[in-house]
């Protein structure tokens, strides 16, 4: 089996990442972003449907799994169902080959910024660049989190929109606290990974 993965690498095609039985496909995705932007809260909300008010900083990485509903290609094409392996990665301050291993093999990432701290949008540049350097073909979706606290500042939205254009992707505003658009964010990433949107 290991040799199969080796062959894929030699032919420069993506290996069959975590293919399970019953047509389920395991996909590794990462949550990137500065500290306290809400990566853990988004994961907790999506996977367990809960929210913790108190901020508790993440150390290293925590991996959660969730099976998402089947997604279908536009026009009634093929249907795929993902089991997402969600890597909630601490807000890294510097990168090295060990932290690169957190990103390695990911099919996509939610790059999360805190809408109430516009500087965290700038942070996404270094996260996005590093993530793409490890996984050149991986999908990025930008997230503006803490929508419940956001005062609808146009400058912040413009910055997020500009960065999304730079990465040729979209952005979604979420609230881990209220749950607003959290599931949509993960499903959108799942669809983009399959090239369905």
């Amino acid at each position: 089996m290991a040799a199969d993965y080796r062959k894929c690498a030699e032919k420069n095609i993506h290996p069959p990442v975590g293919r399970t039985g019953m047509g389920l496909v395991k996909k590794k995705i990462c949550l990137l972003g500065a500290f306290a932007v809400g990566k853990t809260s988004l994961t907790e909300r999506f996977v367990y449907g809960r929210f913790e008010e108190k901020y508790l900083t993440t150390v290293g990485v925590k991996i959660s799994q969730k099976m998402v509903p089947p997604i279908q290609a536009p026009g009634g094409g093929r249907t795929v169902q993902h089991v997402l392996l969600i890597w909630d990665i601490a807000g890294l301050e510097k990168f090295d080959h060990v932290t690169d291993n957190y990103f390695r093999g990911a099919a996509g990432a939610l790059a999360v910024a805190d809408l109430t701290r516009p500087e965290t949008i700038e942070d996404l540049k270094r996260f996005g660049t590093r993530f793409r350097s490890v996984n050149p073909g991986a999908i990025l979706v930008l997230i503006g989190n803490k929508l419940d606290l956001f005062d609808d500042d146009r400058g912040t939205l413009a910055r997020l929109e500009k960065l999304a254009r730079e990465y040729a992707t979209g952005f979604i505003l979420t609230s881990a606290k209220s749950g607003a658009r959290v599931e949509e964010a993960f499903l959108e990433l799942s669809r983009k990974i399959e090239g369905f949107s």
């Binding site: 040799a3 150390v59 291993n101």
Partner: protein, 463 residues
């Protein structure tokens, strides 16, 4: 994996999992089983990747290691549940195995190290967020207001809402010592950037001629001793909060000038014609009944309405029920650190005393009481006998012939002074000049002291 290497890993407390090129587990050391929180019954038989989802997606790297093309693959600080509510942090290191088509995963438990790092990061990040994020401060500042009674929850709730409207004027009302100053600072902290100024003016402590120059500032030559220009407190508060404590003591003349500033957010320094615009939040506080003062023409009605945009009444301590004990416990912890004591709590009798006392001086009085008890505390618990509660809920100490008698339980001298001032004001029909004469003080001295001892009527004790 050679036996010698396996023994070495065991000795060092590392776990080891040997697997083959089909990702089947060949062997797992007992240390690895303990670290992964698996027992005989739950021992996995299937894929190595089912046991280590952390390695899904890097099968290519693993294949390279099995084939001996890559030296290693490492993942640090992977957190895993290791029982209900317990988390273990592991470092994972994949190495080639001497046997063909096999690789070895070495597991190191680094939970202690990770938790230390987490504690350090938590402190660092919280401090950073407190300094930079208004939202974080908004959420956490109001926690400085202790208690869980409905009255305190209402205060905290209002303060949180005020945190989102940094320009709204606020009027804090409540008895002396019930935390108006703290509330003003919390409102400021939760609504302004960390470096925004908080300028406090005690309207009762500054004579009228000073308050004007202090507030508005002056130009060089504006008056005899104005040898250089000086910006006023209004200017210094720009971008932040101006806290006008004891606003009820402000003179009629200053009330008119303050009203003009509040309406236009604009003023002139003394001796200047140049208007200066300021962006400030005004918080005013008083322990007087301003509405009664308005009715009695002692306070401008228009200024009252301008200040009373959001009114936040702070409850007296005696209405907070068990919160009194929470606050007392907090103070005990503070003084434990300050006085290097190890007092653990209050006895049941002490709790009853604390709950029954009427606390006419509110939190300030409670603070003094606990501080005094902590200074002399030698046991693990504070007893009722350690608490010196103000006897001044009784009528004020009276002269006995030409001698003064101190009650056997002792007195609070500051409280005696406060009561005498109240008594003098009552006797003089709130006329400060007459009250000052009764007390043998100058009017200004009386005004200064009123800063601390506003006219709180004596309350009978509950006990």
């Amino acid at each position: 994996m050679t036996d010698r290497f396996a023994r070495l890993l065991d000795l060092k407390g590392f776990g080891a999992v040997l697997f083959d090129s089909h990702f089947n587990i060949v062997r797992m050391s007992p240390a690895a089983e303990a670290m992964l929180w698996i027992s005989g019954a739950s021992k996995p038989r299937g894929s190595f990747l089912d046991l280590f989802p952390e390695l899904v997606g890097v099968e290519e790297q693993i294949a390279a290691i099995i084939e001996g093309k890559d030296a290693d693959y490492r993942l640090d600080l992977v957190s895993r549940e290791s029982g209900p509510g317990r988390v273990r942090y592991l470092n994972l290191l994949l190495l080639p195995d001497p046997a063909p088509d096999r690789a070895l995963l070495v597991i190191e438990d680094v939970t202690g190290q990770a938790l230390s790092r987490q504690a350090a990061n938590q402190q660092r990040y919280e401090l950073f967020l407190y300094r930079t994020s208004a939202d974080f401060r908004r959420k956490h500042s109001s926690e400085r207001i202790l208690g869980d009674s409905p009255a305190i929850r209402r205060v905290r709730d209002t303060i949180q809402k005020l945190g989102r409207t940094p320009s709204a004027t606020v009027l804090l009302t409540g008895e002396t010592g019930c935390g108006k100053n703290l509330a003003a600072r919390v409102i400021h902290g939760s609504s302004m950037p960390a470096d925004a100024p908080f300028i406090e003016i005690n309207c009762a402590a500054l004579p009228e001629h000073l308050i004007e120059s202090e507030l508005f500032g002056y130009e060089k030559g504006a008056f005899t001793h104005a040898v250089s220009a000086k910006p006023g407190l209004l200017e210094e508060a720009h971008g932040g909060t101006l806290f006008l404590d004891e606003i009820g003591e402000m003179s009629a003349n200053m009330q008119a000038k303050l009203l003009a500033v509040l309406e236009s957010r604009c003023f002139r320094r003394l001796g200047s014609t140049r208007p200066i615009k300021v962006n400030i939040r005004v918080i005013a506080s008083t322990n007087r009944d301003l509405q009664a003062d308005v009715a009695a023409k002692r306070f401008r009605e228009d200024l009252f309405f301008r200040l009373n945009v959001v009114s936040l009444p702070l409850p007296p301590l005696r209405e907070l029920g068990d919160d009194i004990l929470r606050i007392a416990e907090h103070l005990m912890n503070v003084y434990n650190v300050e006085f290097k004591k190890r007092v653990k709590g209050f006895s049941a009798d002490a709790c009853r005393e604390l709950l029954d006392h009427p606390w006419p001086g509110n939190v300030r009085e409670l603070g003094n009481c606990i501080e005094r008890a902590m200074i002399f505390a030698e046991k693990e618990q504070i007893d009722a006998s350690d608490l010196v509660l103000s006897p001044l809920a009784d009528p004020v100490v009276a002269p006995d012939g030409d001698r003064w008698t101190v009650p056997s339980g002792g007195i609070d001298l500051e409280e005696v002074e406060r009561r005498l001032i109240v008594s003098a004001l009552n006797q003089s029909g709130q006329n400060k000049t007459k009250a000052a004469r009764l007390l043998g003080l100058s009017r200004d001295t009386l005004r200064y002291r009123l800063d601390k001892y506003r006219d709180q009527p004596p309350r009978p004790p509950r006990r």
